[in-house]
């Protein structure tokens, strides 16, 4: 089998507080993780549990205090290959406003390949392709500040796509968006994963987004506490609620009913799952 694109081994990381007298804050306490190429992984966890810290290790923005992070076999501590790593793993952040560098949409998308020294004609081709992939080609010449939040975020994703990465890490890309913008971003993410075979790591606070992934990783206080397919993760309602998380309403309904002794399957995630199962139950 092919080597996983992301390998994280016993990753430990602490933030040094600005106040020297305070002890460093341990944000990651031994995280291990392997992501095979082409997987769609969702990461859940409450505020401050270390999700962003983990994400920043995946393209060498932060380097491990101990343990190791290998991207396509390259150690992120290898300074000479840092740009290779960043090209393999692209990162999208929460606030679309703070990621866009240029005033015109296509200029911004061109930013990364320009940095990489790609020839102009090739940049042009990549920019067109990236904008098409996120469905923003209509806005090529628009000023970035005139776009809505969701559109800006899609431009930010296009800016990463223009590097032609094999893996894309999105750190709460929908947190600042409205439902419409959120749906569009999620559709874009699914296209990247299903049609282009890109590896996706999606950090989110929305359970319905995580429910669409191949695999869900749940973190609590700098450690991984669950790592499974969404159906199984979301059936562990009590545990999730104990660490301040939530489950989609259909899963919760099924869980509550099961607790009352009603026999329902464990893998209910969506409205349709739930309706089918309940209909089945009521037929009996």
């Amino acid at each position: 089998m092919k080597e996983p694109i992301i390998q994280v081994k016993d990753l430990v990381f602490s933030y040094q507080s600005s106040d020297e007298s305070l002890p460093p804050h341990r944000a990651l306490r031994g995280v291990s993780l392997e992501v095979p190429e082409g997987q769609f992984l969702a990461v859940l966890g409450h505020n401050g549990c270390g999700k962003s810290t983990l994400a920043k290790h995946l393209n060498g923005i932060l380097v491990p205090e101990s343990g190791q992070v290998l991207i396509d076999g390259i150690d992120t501590r290898d300074d000479d290959r840092i740009f290779d790593i960043r090209q393999i793993v692209g990162m999208v952040f929460q606030n679309p406003d703070n990621q866009i560098v240029a005033t015109i949409v296509e200029e911004d998308v061109a930013f990364a390949p320009e940095n990489m020294g790609v020839p102009p004609a090739e940049i042009r081709r990549r920019v067109d392709w990236a904008l098409e992939t996120v469905n923003m080609q209509k806005y090529r010449q628009q000023a970035t500040y005139q776009l809505s939040g969701g559109q800006k975020q899609r431009v930010a994703i296009a800016g990463i796509l223009a590097m032609q990465p094999r893996c894309i890490v999105l750190d709460e890309p929908t947190a600042m968006l409205d439902p419409h913008g959120r749906r569009r971003i999620l559709a874009t993410i699914r296209t990247l994963n299903r049609e282009l075979g890109m590896t996706v790591v999606l950090i989110t606070h929305y359970m319905d987004e995580a429910a669409q992934a191949d695999r869900v990783l749940v973190m609590d206080d700098g450690a991984v506490v669950m790592d499974d397919i969404p159906q199984r993760v979301f059936s562990r309602v009590t545990e999730l609620q104990a660490i301040g998380l939530d489950v989609p309403q259909p899963s919760e309904l099924a869980f509550q009913l099961r607790r009352q002794g009603v026999e329902l399957p464990y893998d209910i995630l969506t409205v349709d799952d739930c309706v089918t199962a309940l209909a089945h139950l009521l037929e009996a």
């Binding site: 740009f83 240029a102 005033t103 930013f111 020294g117 102009p120 940049i123 042009r124 005139q146 800016g159």
Partner: protein, 267 residues
């Protein structure tokens, strides 16, 4: 309120002037200032004004627009004009109490006005026909040779781009913070100096803090996109000079020569 603020006074259009390369426009504008500086004869001034009229016609920009951009300098012109009337002695045309108008005084005032009008109308043509982005782009490329002298051209240009990019964002943010503090009863419209200065604190602090946060995040995002300064960087958009640029340069050269020649004509 100010979300769609347009910095500068760019008028979209497709005239020859709009299509010109920003570099040409910049250079020609500078040339025009220099020529103005050298002009010293009536036909010279007429030529300079003629050129302006021609350009404004080409760019389809009306008189009203020019007048509006001249507004801020009117007090200066008047003030200097009046002073000249006091100080310049010469053939008195009209005299009342301590005021007198001399021929020379009038002459100076006229020259001054023409120069100011030409200067402002000429340079503002640049902002009217060039978008801020194109202008920044042009500036960067014009300054590019300076990089050889270890002048950080790329960094400066990057900063200009980012500044341009964040002006609307920050204006919007200021607006939001001001609204929020007003909702909490902040009073920014009344009171003496000290009170007003104090009223700024609730706006400036969040603004500073959020600027720093944005700066941090932006730096991070740029690093993620392989930013490593100017070396080895390519550009997607290549500026190129076309026939318009050539023609404009030729016309400009002719007129400049004309103006300079006029200085030496015995008129």
């Amino acid at each position: 309120m100010i979300r769609d603020i347009t910095i500068g006074q760019y008028f979209t259009g497709h005239s020859a002037l709009h299509r010109m390369d920003p570099r040409t426009k910049l250079v020609l504008t500078i040339a025009y200032i220099v020529v103005l500086f050298l002009t010293d004869s009536l036909p010279g001034y007429l030529l300079a004004i003629g050129l302006l009229v021609l350009c404004y016609k080409l760019a389809h920009i009306g008189l009203k627009v020019i007048l509006r951009s001249l507004k801020p300098v009117i007090p200066l012109v008047l003030f200097t004009g009046i002073l000249n009337m006091f100080f310049i002695s010469g053939d008195v045309l009209w005299h009342w109490w301590i005021f007198r108008i001399t021929q020379q005084g009038l002459y100076f005032a006229a020259i001054m006005s023409v120069r100011i009008i030409c200067l402002i109308a000429g340079t503002s043509l640049l902002t009217y026909t060039t978008s801020p982005i194109a202008l920044t782009d042009g500036l960067e490329r014009l300054l590019a040779p300076l990089a050889k002298l270890h002048f950080p051209v790329h960094e400066l240009a990057m900063m200009m781009t980012i500044t341009l990019r964040f002006i609307p964002t920050l204006v919007e943010e200021t607006d939001k913070i001001m609204s929020a503090q007003k909702s909490r009863g902040a009073d920014m419209e009344t009171g003496g100096l000290i009170k007003r200065v104090k009223a700024l604190v609730p706006i400036l602090i969040p603004l500073f803090v959020s600027s720093f946060r944005r700066a941090d995040e932006l730096a991070l995002a740029m690093e993620c996109r392989c930013y490593r300064g100017g070396e080895g960087r390519t550009r997607m958009r290549q500026l190129h000079m076309g026939g318009v640029d050539l023609a404009a340069t030729a016309v400009m050269a002719l007129i400049c020569a004309g103006i300079i020649l006029c200085n030496y004509l015995p008129l």
